[in-house]
């Protein structure tokens, strides 16, 4: 019984922490982008206010069961993914957190959003869903090769074991094959964050936010929370498998150890985020066919080379 309560408590705490830090990440994205634009930008807590406002809307438009369910589905999948990823020395399901499972769970929120968007019947949402599907398809290939490279090189699919292995042999990216995999994975992350040049599925100037066009009020609010958690989970996953994660045991107190490892992880996550922001600020958007061709070309070649090198 105590174990159940403790696990539940841990889960809630992780969720709260992830949501909060995710919102801060959203704020950081907006502020840093603003600074590159030579302007001041919003306060860092702005995304939280946005979400509160969206949740407090008085009228909500719904288009049926699938429409509501898709959103919940997206949020649930993201939370589940978060639970599988090791967060420093804490983790609920980290033992079961296998690379393929987490990657899969991080991608399916997009499917949930697409269900909802398609059921709204808006042509823009339909267009956006087409694009999102194709993007999803395009990133599979480099993603797969990157994971193969990781698994080949560490001989395991478990995220936690990869993190532990990195404690002894150094970060993944200092090994050439894994560096290549990391580059490919980072390009994929750009699409998962929805930043330029791969923000094709939302593309405000072209298809007016695509799948999001019909969402308003509470639906959009939940999507904002989902986005925040997803940001946290994706950066966390990347820092875990490529940037060494954080397992700090140098302090006597376990609380201090946990805090220190969270801090280290946070720095790594922000570093991952910054690369995404910088790339997003300076490149225009690809069209969907160009993006697909791009993903099937460069990142695939890089990741495949990494996988082959790792296998040798």
């Amino acid at each position: 019984m105590v174990v159940v309560v403790e696990t539940a408590l841990k889960a809630v705490l992780i969720l709260l922490y992830a949501t909060f830090v995710g919102f801060m990440f959203m704020g950081i994205i907006r502020i840093v982008t603003a600074r590159i634009h030579r302007r001041v930008g919003p306060p860092i807590y702005q995304p939280i206010l946005d979400t509160i406002k969206l949740l407090s809307k008085k009228s909500n438009i719904t288009h049926g069961l699938i429409y509501d369910f898709g959103i919940i589905y997206a949020l649930g999948a993201t939370i589940l993914a978060l639970m599988f990823i090791p967060l420093g020395s804490i983790g609920i399901l980290r033992m079961y957190g296998d690379l393929i499972l987490i990657t899969f769970l991080l991608e399916i929120p997009m499917l949930g959003i697409m269900f909802a968007a398609m059921s709204s019947g808006n042509p823009w949402a339909g267009l956006g869903s087409q694009r999102a599907l194709l993007t999803l398809l395009a990133i599979q290939v480099p993603l797969g090769f990157a994971i193969v490279a990781l698994a080949e090189s560490y001989g395991t699919f478990s995220t936690y074991q990869i993190v532990m292995a990195q404690q002894s042999m150094g970060w993944s990216i200092i090994h050439l094959p894994l560096l290549l995999a990391a580059v490919a994975y980072d390009l994929v992350l750009q699409a998962m964050f929805g930043k330029e040049p791969f923000d094709i599925m939302i593309a405000p100037g072209e298809i007016s936010l695509g799948p999001m066009v019909e969402f308003g009020g509470k639906h959009m609010g939940i999507l904002q929370i989902q986005h925040a958690i997803a940001l946290f989970a994706e950066t966390l996953f990347f820092s875990n498998i490529f940037l060494g994660g954080a397992v700090i045991t140098s302090f006597a107190s376990p609380v201090l150890n946990t805090l220190a490892s969270l801090g280290v992880l946070l720095i790594k996550q922000i570093a991952v985020l910054m690369i995404a922001i910088f790339m997003g600020a300076i490149f225009p958007r690809f069209t969907i066919d160009q993006a697909a061709r791009f993903y099937w070309k460069w990142p695939t070649i890089i990741a495949a080379t990494g996988a082959i090198l790792a296998a040798l």
Partner: protein, 392 residues
């Protein structure tokens, strides 16, 4: 209770709600006016997947009936009205209307007025091009360059404000000269600084937009026009220069001080969106160069408007009967005005010919066929379509 699909369709048809897909392959898509890329202009697209099958331009959201309104207001007052035709560069309608009226009356403009008018027109061109860079980069998705362009344009806005007393609607060029003199020498110095400043910032735009690999990928081979097509469709301005026709009103039909100024006309043969963008980019550089030359020349001494006793009583100011056509080179193309007077204190007929009426309807409809939905904003922006001057 279950209602079958066919019954629903029938009920919808009876209630006039036949909004189903057009046929089994295509669907209807309203592109605008509530859309970030269109600026209150609407294109009705028949789509097949993400390809456009047919496009119909639907103008008229900004129609106010200027040509009728201008017939009911005194000659000078029309300046305050007609400049609303082209919002990004309101000096152009002012200038063409004033030039046409000047021609009907037969006024010789004082040299100082000519200098000021040329400077204002060139400043308007620079500001409109910066605005266009902003629009292009917002539509391409490289927001950084757009934000910078809008910020640098504010410097020109401040200069306009000091010269004319307003930020956007200057109401400055009037028949017979301009309304105010240059405020002081500090203004000229500030203009020189601004020209230098914007010139120094041009490489930044190059890095982000015009030399960016992805921009090339997005714009190459999109919306291709050839020379014959462009001439037949009445395309003017940078758009026709991008197809290889060196037509520039400033050289072909010189006005104001342009015969004395030295500038180059960029001409490219490709006729695609990229060529149009590069031509505009080079023209921005040339406009800054023209401003430098004008500043070098310095404003000549003398009156800033025609000394005519008739100008004392503006409401009763009469223009002799006659008609005239005047046009200038705006950033969008050949902007013309045809003014008819019947000798009273109001114009008899004013027709403004915006370049976008040629670019925005037939050219756009034909260029969009076969384009991807992502190319639609790029084509719109590369044509630099300005909806208010279609609608008037």
């Amino acid at each position: 209770m279950m209602v079958s699909q066919s019954e629903l369709v029938k009920e919808a048809r009876e209630n006039g709600m036949d909004l189903l897909p057009l046929d089994k392959d295509t669907y209807e898509l309203f592109f605008g006016p509530q859309h970030m890329a269109t600026e209150n202009f609407s294109i009705i697209l028949k789509m097949d997947g993400h390809r456009v099958v047919k496009a119909i331009a639907n103008p008229g959201f900004l129609h106010r009936g200027f040509e009728k309104l201008a017939e009911l207001r005194p000659w000078h007052t029309n300046i305050a009205l007609l400049l609303r035709i082209c919002v990004p560069e309101p000096d152009v309608p002012e200038a063409i209307y004033s030039m046409a009226v000047d021609e009907i009356i037969g006024w010789e403009l004082p040299e100082r007025a000519q200098w000021i008018r040329t400077t204002v027109l060139e400043m308007a061109r620079v500001s409109a091009y910066l605005f266009w860079i902003m629009g292009l980069s917002f539509k391409l998705g490289v927001y950084t360059a757009g934000q910078w362009a809008a910020a640098y344009r504010e410097r020109l806005m401040a200069l306009f404000e000091q010269l004319t007393g307003a930020r956007v609607y200057h109401i400055y060029t009037i028949p017979g000269g301009v309304r105010r003199d240059i405020p002081n020498d500090a203004w000229l110095r500030r203009l020189r600084d601004t020209v230098e400043y914007i010139k120094g910032k041009l490489p930044d735009f190059d890095h982000l937009v015009f030399e960016n690999y992805i921009t090339f990928r997005r714009m190459e081979g999109i919306g291709v026009m050839d020379k014959k097509f462009a001439l037949a469709e009445g395309v003017t301005g940078p758009n026709i220069r991008a197809t290889g026709v060196p037509y520039d009103v400033r050289r072909a039909d010189p006005y104001l001080l342009y015969p004395e100024l030295d500038f180059e006309i960029p001409v490219l043969e490709d006729g695609d969106a990229l060529a149009r963008a590069l031509v505009r980019r080079y023209e921005l550089e040339q406009d800054l160069y023209i401003l430098e030359q004008l500043l070098e020349m310095g404003p000549p001494d003398g009156p800033y408007k025609v000394q005519d006793p008739k100008l004392k009583n503006l409401p009763r100011f009469k223009v002799p009967a006659g008609d005239a056509f005047a046009h200038v080179e705006s950033t969008k193309g050949d902007f013309g005005a045809y003014v008819v007077s019947d000798g009273r204190n109001k114009p008899y007929r004013v027709q403004i010919r915006g370049p976008s009426i040629a670019h925005g309807i037939r050219v756009l409809e034909q260029l969009l066929v076969g384009a991807r939905i992502a190319d639609v904003p790029v084509i719109l922006m590369s044509l630099d379509n300005c909806p208010p001057d279609i609608d008037r």
